[in-house]
């Protein structure tokens, strides 16, 4: 898979055919940067794994975080390139659970009401225009998912936003299954699925089929059964889902929708789930969400105007107030531009959330929701070196991102690149 347009690098390489020397130089400088270990110094390191570190340093080697701590305690080994960010803030790259801008926009195949055989992997365009700006907003990981035109849009892919070929940027595929339980997939032509009863039946029916398929394979592979099931491409990707290796990202909102999500997908099907909108009055069943310890990564709507009391209510603040802890925000890009993920958090704080929790809500909490917290979402030793340097707290829109490092490589630096956001 290659991007369907010519990147500037490709152009350089193309010109390089005429001038072998130039091509060699280009290649060696890119290589050099890739391999050089880094020491990134910042006035405040927000690790999202414990207290922030004042005057901290993060060592990066081989694309991973090698060490993190106060500058007085962590020694910088020889040969490390030092990036001194002065009094700026250093934080983990942001993680988006609900993105539709990871490639070409044709994300709704609406022939069938459920499409577990479809995958966005066929659509990915690494580091496309939207993702380039997303990088400038500090977003380094996105979960690129199908649309909500049908009850089951297909399987999404988790990607890094930086440059490279598909294999360079792919974090996990299948990343998530996309299920839409409310609103958009309703059929208005009188067929089954024009309302919640029908839609829930359709989803349940499809999942039952998938579960039976995966069980048959599990039984065969564990030796419980000697009969080798036939391979069914349509159901293959249900394997990691029912083995709880990947979650379902659910387009669900309002208390009825969330109730159905919890009871069907979580309780009956025993799946890992992420509430992918959670908006409108969904926060009214926070106690059910808490009981099951399910993440709510809310958005793109940030508030609800309640006609009964005539007031604006912050969605996340209302969940928070009721005790839900596993919280984050999403953009549903391009509904909200991908680079404004931090601004979604800004608005949540404006409406009553807490700033520290909001920073977690765009880093480690969505990473945990996507089950990729072993790789991204916080600054901890062994994790991917996805780092964002900002002129202050990223929640304050007056501050902006000056450098972004993905997998140990500087992919955005306003000293060299035109500022994109």
């Amino acid at each position: 898979m290659t991007p369907n347009r010519i990147s500037p690098t490709a152009l350089v390489l193309l010109l390089g055919l005429l001038s072998p020397m130039a091509a060699a130089q280009e290649a060696s400088s890119a290589e050099g940067q890739e391999n050089r270990p880094l020491a990134v110094l910042a006035g405040k390191v927000i690790t999202c794994a414990g207290e922030p570190i004042v005057d901290g340093v993060v060592l990066v080697r081989g694309g991973k975080i090698e060490a993190v701590g106060p500058q007085t305690e962590v020694e910088i080994p020889e040969g490390y390139e030092v990036i001194d960010c002065g009094d700026k803030f250093l934080m983990p790259g942001l993680v988006e659970v609900h993105c539709h801008v990871g490639g070409s926009g044709d994300l709704n195949e609406m022939v069938y009401q459920t499409n577990p055989d479809l995958r966005v992997l066929d659509q990915v365009i690494p580091h496309n225009d939207a993702l380039q700006v997303a990088v400038a907003g500090g977003v380094t990981t996105v979960c690129y998912i199908p649309g909500s035109g049908t009850n089951m849009g297909g399987f999404g892919a988790i990607l890094k936003t930086g440059p490279g070929e598909l294999e360079d940027v792919l974090v996990r595929f299948p990343g998530v299954l996309k299920i839409a339980q409310w609103g958009n997939p309703e059929r208005r032509d009188g067929t089954l699925g024009s309302g919640r009863m029908g839609m829930n039946w359709i989803i349940r029916d499809q999942l039952e089929e998938g579960r039976a398929y995966v069980r048959a394979w599990d039984d065969y592979e564990s030796g419980k059964s000697s009969e080798r099931p036939e391979i069914d491409l349509r159901l293959e990707m249900f394997k990691p889902l029912f083995r709880r290796e990947i979650p379902v990202l659910v387009h669900t909102q309002g208390y009825q929708g969330i109730q159905a999500t919890l009871e069907m997908l979580h309780d009956a099907m025993d799946l890992r789930i992420v509430i992918g909108h959670g908006t409108f009055e969904g926060y009214l069943i926070s106690d059910e969400v808490i009981r099951r310890n399910v993440p709510v990564i809310a958005g793109p709507r940030g508030f609800r105007f309640d006609p009964d009391d005539g007031q604006i209510h912050g969605i996340v603040a209302e969940y928070d107030r009721r005790g839900v802890e596993w919280l984050g925000v999403n953009t549903d890009s391009p509904v909200i531009p991908q680079e404004e993920l931090s601004f979604q958090a800004t608005m949540a704080v404006r409406y009553g959330w807490n700033e520290e929790e909001a920073i977690r809500g765009i880093t480690i909490e969505p990473a945990r929701a996507l089950m990729i917290e072993d790789r991204v979402g916080s600054i901890e030793v062994g994790k991917d070196a996805d780092l964002v340097i900002c002129t202050g707290s990223i929640i304050d829109p007056r501050n902006y991102v000056t450098q972004v490092i993905i997998d140990g490589k500087v992919v955005y630096d306003i000293a060299k690149d035109r500022r994109r956001f």
């Binding site: 509904v335 404006r350 304050d396 500022r419």
Partner: protein, 559 residues
């Protein structure tokens, strides 16, 4: 479906207006959240309305706050005295007269009220949507609605005045697909006036009405495409918000907010614009004097507003030149006529006005031309045209202003920008095309005055946070992100838009003699956490966060 008449609505408005101008003073007591800043009936109005002007009203004193005057720097722990709607005194060592009502604002920040250059559908009733336009004799004053909920939502973020467009949807037609229970066979065509009638009849709710109008006006900023046609569902005319048919839910489809199929029609017949008459959009400036019609209308036709397309292309530019020439010729003839009349000449004929009043004002430089110019090329040609034809200019949506900042600065043309506006640059021309997040800083460097407009110009309650009219101060925070300093960004919310509206003598800064439009804030004006605690317009408290409770009320320190 019978087309409904306007009379009912007009009668309703008349009744409302009558209720707003009560002859006995005590009726004023229930007109809002203001404390005792209201003149006491027996003091201020001893003999009715007549003597109001002569007896100075009571004094309101705001003490202890850091005052951001905008034009005269910051006054630490200053005092502002307000009387009869205007600022009586402002300074650090002002004595509070005995008997004054005192608002202790210690630890708070006071700024002038923010001014919106576009405030769609705020403070005006339904009638404003179809009335007016190009020399109409209908009066904006008839459409004001001092109890419009949008006013509270705007006051809550600090907007105390702004320009409202009148009659933007007057040409639109709405086609409703009859539902199964309807008597109508085919689609029913309705005009805006019909919708107003239905609204007055209670057959259409406010939300649906606003929604339809948003389509007709093509308010893409809140997700409504420029569509003139809307098909209902269910029996007869049904609101897409009717809970019997639809719940509150996320709808993407053709329109993000409609359940219905939306088809496109042209709101106006396909014909070249008339070479003889420009068709300006009609605007007025209103102040958000919640509960009070008095003093609400600040100005009519503050600028001459034309669409960018009407100034683009040889034919349109030719027409524009001709029209301005006609206006100038008329003024000369009029002068001659008046001189002749003075001299007692006989057989003279008063010249006929060949263009609308607005164009005359434009030629006399009483008001500027306001139009949109997003590309550098458009901006350049608008500057050139204004120079050639000698009128004042304001440019909206000037996305590529950063490319031509020097030229704008030299020409002294103010622009309206939205820091988060995006336009992709042309491939290979990244240095001279497209949007730049650094535009505000570049404009400040080049001394180009700019006002901030938010992403959306109307109040939207669909739930997307920080993108509608009520995000105005947050958009200014993005100007700081883009390199402007805080003072410039605050000016972009206050004195610059005030100048664009031609009201810099009255609003946009805290100065002696100006209107008392003041905000008491619980933090710095451009901090995203800051809320307006109290908003004062024309000297009266119109909004209190804790009492009005339209925005969340919580203790941030406890969070």
């Amino acid at each position: 479906m019978k087309p409904n008449d306007l009379l009912r609505l007009l009668a309703l408005l008349a009744a409302l207006a009558a209720a707003m101008f009560p002859s006995p003073a005590p009726a004023q007591e229930d007109s809002g959240g203001e404390a005792s800043s209201e003149p006491k009936p027996d003091e201020a109005r001893p003999d009715g309305e007549e003597s109001d002007e002569k007896t100075p009203g009571p004094i309101l004193a705001i003490v202890g706050a850091d005052i951001e005057t905008v034009t005269q720097g910051t006054i630490r722990r200053g005092t502002i005295l307000v009387r009869d709607g205007t600022i009586l005194e402002v300074g650090q060592s002002i004595e509070v007269p005995e008997g004054a009502e005192v608002i202790d604002a210690s630890g708070k920040v006071v700024t002038p009220g923010f001014v919106a250059v576009d405030m769609n559908g705020v403070g005006v009733g339904a009638a404003a949507r179809s009335r007016g336009g190009g020399g109409s004799s209908n009066s904006v004053a008839d459409a004001l609605d001092p109890f419009d909920r949008n006013m509270k939502l705007c006051l809550g973020v600090g907007i105390t005045s702004g320009a409202v467009r009148i009659g933007g949807a007057s040409g639109a037609r709405f086609l409703f697909q009859p539902g199964p229970g309807s008597e109508d066979e085919g689609p029913v065509s309705l005009t805006v006036d019909d919708l107003i009638g239905l609204l007055a009849d209670g057959q259409l709710d406010d939300e649906t009405f606003d929604h339809l109008l948003a389509h007709a006006e093509g308010r893409e900023d809140d997700g409504h495409g420029p569509l003139g046609l809307f098909a209902g569902d269910g029996s007869g005319l049904v609101s897409p918000f009717d809970s019997r048919f639809f719940g509150e839910q996320d709808r993407q489809g053709t329109c993000a907010h409609c359940a219905a199929t939306v088809m496109e029609i042209l709101p106006e017949p396909l014909a070249p614009p008339s070479p003889t008459r420009p068709r300006p959009d009609d605007y007025c400036v209103i102040k958000l004097t919640w509960g009070d019609l008095d003093g609400m209308l600040a100005a009519e036709q503050p600028f001459y507003s034309l669409s960018s397309s009407s100034l683009t292309g040889p034919f349109n530019v030719f027409s524009w030149r001709e029209n301005l020439k006609k206006a100038r010729d008329y003024l000369e003839e009029l002068e001659q006529y008046e001189a002749d009349k003075e001299a007692g000449k006989k057989d003279i004929k008063e010249p006929r006005k060949p263009v609308d009043d607005g164009l005359i004002k434009l030629v006399k430089k009483e008001i500027p031309l306001r139009t949109q110019a997003s590309s550098a090329e458009q901006i350049r040609s608008m500057i050139a045209l204004a120079r050639e034809l000698d009128y004042r200019l304001v440019l909206d949506g000037a996305i590529e202003a950063w490319v031509v900042a020097e030229e704008l600065g030299k020409a002294g043309v103010p622009v309206v920008i939205t820091p988060r506006d995006r336009r992709r640059s042309d491939p290979g021309r990244e240095d001279s095309t497209g949007s730049s997040i650094e535009t505000p800083g570049i404009l400040q460097q080049a001394a180009v005055p700019f006002a901030i407009a938010p992403l959306g110009s109307s109040v939207s309650l669909v739930g997307l946070a920080g993108r509608d009219l009520t995000s105005l101060p947050l958009e200014a925070a993005f100007a700081v992100r883009g390199g402007a300093d805080e003072a410039t960004a605050l000016a972009a919310l206050t004195i610059v838009p005030a100048r664009i509206l031609g009201l810099e003598d009255r609003i946009g800064s805290i100065e002696k003699g100006k209107d008392a439009d003041l905000l008491i804030l619980d933090g710095p004006p451009l901090d995203y956490r800051t809320y307006v605690e109290t908003a004062i317009v024309n000297g009266k408290v119109r909004y209190r966060r804790a009492e009005d409770r339209v925005y969340p009320v919580f203790d941030r320190d406890a969070r």
